[in-house]
């Protein structure tokens, strides 16, 4: 049985549409053998029936599956170390190659491992493109004897930016961010001792990590961009806590910002039911 070279990224969107139409018509027909061709690539995650998965699972020993689970866990941990969100396609491409038919089971086990062993949650921040991040299930504690994220001043920088965006309604022109930072003696025009190239950290690194979005405002000349919260920030950062922090900063009751408080409270309740596999 020849193994084809798959191109995950390209086929995902196309096959999604095809799937919806033909899935119920010819599912059993197409899946009679577990001979996966390019079309079925993406379907592996969502549309294998449980009985098919069951049969596929019998092809692998428990040890083999455990080993695959371990590999995926390591893969995700390494990506997460750099705060790079993990694409489901990458997991398939780099790790689960021969085990495609039981992808869903492997990923379920992976999720369970993260929760049980590490106290982390694998959360889908982008349901369309299937992108995941690891967030912490344990509450952060202020006075740790050993710091959790040793020496990362960028967190403070990020927090300030997210606060400004949130307090100003969720979208702001980039100038507002640069001016705020300048007031804090962090000048995007100069090279900073701790952060280096500020502009690069904010518009490249934080964007890649999905903490902020930095998009061009159409029809602006010269080109202006605006900032929003990124998908990871939406999942990881508690708006309520952020508002509390701002309240302390200005010595005001968080509820005095009624709009923001309403939004923060809604976000808090929604996060109870976050998306997992």
């Amino acid at each position: 049985m020849a193994r084809n070279k798959y191109n995950w990224q390209g086929s995902i969107v196309m096959s999604q549409r095809k799937k919806a139409v033909s899935a119920f018509q010819s599912k059993t027909q197409r899946r009679s053998q577990l001979n996966l061709d390019e079309e079925d690539e993406d379907a592996n995650f969502s549309q294998i029936t449980s009985s098919q998965a069951q049969r596929a699972r019998e092809n692998f020993t428990n040890d083999q599956i455990d080993r695959k689970v371990a590999e995926v866990v390591q893969f995700i941990l390494i990506k997460d170390q750099k705060k790079i969100p993990v694409r489901r396609a990458d997991i398939g491409k780099h790790v689960i190659k021969e085990y495609k038919a039981i992808n869903a089971e492997i990923l379920t086990r992976v999720c369970r491992k993260f929760e049980q062993v590490f106290g982390l949650k694998l959360v889908e921040i982008d349901q369309k493109n299937h992108i995941y991040v690891l967030i912490n299930k344990l509450e952060p504690i202020p006075e740790e004897p050993v710091s959790m994220r040793p020496g990362n001043p960028k967190t403070g920088l990020l927090f300030v930016i997210l606060s400004v965006i949130f307090m100003k309604g969720g979208v702001i022109k980039e100038n507002l961010v640069w001016n705020t930072l300048k007031k804090l003696r962090v000048d995007p025009g100069e090279k900073h001792d701790n952060f280096g190239d500020i502009k690069k950290v904010v518009t490249d690194e934080f964007v890649r990590q999905k903490y902020v979005e930095y998009v061009k405002i159409p029809h602006t000349e010269p080109v202006e961009c605006e900032f929003r919260w990124g998908l990871r920030a939406e999942k990881e950062v508690s708006k309520l806590k952020l508002l509390e922090f701002v309240g302390e900063l200005f010595d005001q009751d968080p509820q005095s910002w009624t709009q923001q408080f309403r939004e923060a409270s809604t976000a808090e309740t929604n996060s109870q039911s976050s998306h997992t596999l």
Binding site: Q74, V117, N136, V146, M148
Partner: protein, 268 residues
């Protein structure tokens, strides 16, 4: 019956993950902090048991919290290591190919050296002859800084040696690569880079400085444990926390030391 994994264990593990390696004294403090934070039953001095619970869960993931000793200060450290690796793949995601090649070459120099150090001059020469892609002087200095910051190398007066984290993580890899070429401590049987050597040419056994301190403690006539020749080197002083007993050290031998009076002191 083994204890169940709880949030206290998870918090401990997460901290290990962020830090890569922590000293034994910090680990003790962290143990207490994690138990208190989550209201878990805390027993002082049972850190290794606590860690064993975590290790039981880490085993199927090919990870392990391993205890090791620093060659420099004799203190114990706990490091989170990958067990599957047959190479320095732990570093692979953080460095470019030529940087990894430089690291391997630096490791070669260090293992090869008498004193367990590689000079920056020698490293710069290697950088100039890399097979992947040469590194310029400035680039090499930046990479070396990064190695030090990421706790893979230690720097002293322009010379570089492997950090305790590096040795604990890569001991297996190094033994495989270097085989007989790598020195081993006669006392604790771990890799020895910074060590003293028996002057008897037919003997030549090595001992870590801290192991020498422990082995020859309060001996007026130090003799080589293997060939009984007089041990001519200066016997270093033992560090305070070094005197605590070292159970669970990988392949720790039956040590010929008299019990010390300060072993059970409670200072952190």
């Amino acid at each position: 019956m083994s204890r169940q994994m709880g949030d206290s264990h998870r918090r401990f593990l997460q901290t290990m993950m962020s830090n890569g390696i922590i000293s034994a004294s910090k680990a003790v403090a962290l143990h207490r902090h994690c138990c208190e934070t989550h209201g878990a039953h805390y027993v002082a001095d049972r850190l290794d048991e606590f860690i064993n619970v975590i290790n039981a869960q880490l085993q199927p993931l090919f990870m392990h919290i391993r205890k090791g000793m620093s060659e420099e200060d004799g203190l114990e450290y706990y490091a989170l290591v990958n067990v599957t690796e047959t190479d320095i793949t732990r570093m692979a995601s953080d460095y470019a190919d030529n940087e990894l090649e430089l690291f391997r070459k630096t490791m070669d120099l260090i293992v090869d050296s008498e004193r367990g150090f590689a000079s920056s001059t020698d490293i710069l020469n290697c950088a100039d002859s890399l097979q992947t892609k040469k590194l310029k002087k400035k680039e090499t200095e930046l990479v070396l800084n990064k190695f030090v910051q990421d706790k893979w190398l230690n720097e002293k007066d322009g010379d570089y040696t492997l950090s305790v984290r590096c040795i604990v993580e890569m001991e297996q890899y190094m033994r495989t690569i270097y085989q007989d070429l790598i020195k081993v401590c006669h006392v604790c049987h771990n890799i020895a880079l910074q060590c003293q050597t028996c002057e008897n040419l037919t003997c030549g056994i090595k001992m870590h400085f801290p192991c020498v301190a422990r082995y020859f403690r309060a001996r007026s006539d130090p003799r080589c444990p293997e060939c009984n020749e007089f041990w001519p080197h200066e016997i270093p002083e033992m560090q305070h926390s070094q005197s605590r007993s070292t159970q669970n050290l990988p392949s720790s031998s039956k040590e010929n030391t008299a019990p010390t009076s300060s072993r059970r002191s409670r200072r952190l």
